[in-house]
Homo-oligomer: 246 residues x 2
């Protein structure tokens, strides 16, 4: 059996019923966008060679805790099956999709940026790197929120933590089970996060059922003594269908 | 009876129990920061005269739908009790609080920005304005997400919508009942939002109970034909205590 590509017309029909008005849904053509297999999709997401800039690399703004944990996980990529995810400017760069035609987008269509890379000044916005463990369907995100993510004075905005969590959920969902759209998430905040300190997000896929991925996330300090959030998220899956070889 | 100011020592004690480790909590001194009354707090938040730049004013990037609704609500400020909230660079500018001393913040402490004003290029990030109705404890946020808030190619990142919602929740909670910290929120996504289109957020305070504000939010298109999200949020309240006049 060969997985030949996304046969998603029916799935998108289901998706339309789930999400409502079809006029604003993307007219995806994943079969042509992703190539011809799951492996192709995976390798497109994680290219071995690319000219695209990877923003998930250490820079001078990273605190010592972040650098140390980054090195620890980098070691795990050599022996424990972990993968360091690159972070490109746009999700289109990752998954090979272009904006659907006919949709209202900015006049400067070429300058889209994935939200969590919207601030380009090192250390001022979202500094982060995600590591993924395919066999266990789990991820770790090392996140250092900068002073442009302010909420209460001196602390990180709850919304920026929600955004970072949603982004890590979405990358995990995509790689663990072709999850592509956020259906819901729920966050309980336990402690405030001092600006520019290190936050560790542990994300796991609990189950995949009825085209949905159910995930959980605990956000904590490096020493795990302070829990910042307990959260859950549900993503909609675009399933691949099996076909006989031609 | 006069409300003389925040008498929050006990409340912060309660807050510490709610939020956990006290070492990362802000050492607020709201009594000195806010002056001597609720009115003072309110007027500090909404100064009649200030040299601070208000980012919640129309600019060339606003779409026609956004401009029209902005004008409609501006009319309501003259007759229907609505208030247009200014939007300054930092929450410290709004509520008169400085970052707590001794906390880890960026080396460039002076350049903090409230997260939803982190992108300064007009039309590329968060374009928004919030109107508040004190007597009904409800708000409307007009939000135009730009191409730096990308999620799925051509569409807005779910995390940026969560951030905008959390910010509108937080301003509403603060003005409706001294709500200051997000305890939880829950978002169900119904439709994707095309980049740079207008989003309308309707937020209401349902009840205030046991030092918590319970709020709901529906996010929709201008014509209300497309619902984007259904959400709820809970904020922790710092209560004012009644005192006899001196």
């Amino acid at each position: 059996m060969i997985r030949r590509g996304f046969q998603v017309a029916a799935r998108l029909g289901h998706h339309r019923r789930l999400l409502g008005a079809p006029r604003i849904l993307p007219r995806l053509n994943p079969a042509s966008a992703f190539g011809s297999s799951t492996d192709s999709m995976f390798s497109r997401f994680l290219p071995e060679k690319t000219e695209l800039k990877d923003d998930a690399l250490p820079n001078a703004s990273w605190c010592l805790d972040m650098l140390c944990l980054y090195q620890e996980f980098l070691e795990k990529t050599k022996s424990s099956g972990w993968i360091k995810l690159p972070s490109f400017k746009s999700n289109g760069d990752h998954i090979g999709l272009n904006p659907p035609s006919g949709l209202a987008v900015s006049s400067d269509k070429g300058d889209c940026r994935i939200f969590t890379r919207c601030i380009q000044v090192e250390g001022q916005g979202f500094e982060y790197v995600i590591f993924f463990q395919p066999s266990k369907k789990k991820s770790v995100c090392l996140f250092q929120p900068g002073p442009y993510l302010e909420g209460p004075p001196g602390f990180t905005h709850s919304g920026s933590l929600a955004a970072m969590m949603d982004e890590t959920f979405s990358k995990t969902a995509f790689l663990a089970g072709e999850g592509v759209f956020t259906l819901s998430f729920n966050i309980r905040f336990k402690n405030l996060i001092p600006m520019s300190s290190l936050v560790v997000m542990d994300i796991e896929v609990g189950k995949i059922e009825d085209q949905k991925l159910y995930m959980s996330c605990i956000t904590h300090s490096r020493d795990q003594q302070t829990v910042y959030t307990n959260s859950s998220g549900v993503f909609l899956q675009l399933q691949l269908e099996e076909e006989s070889p031609q």
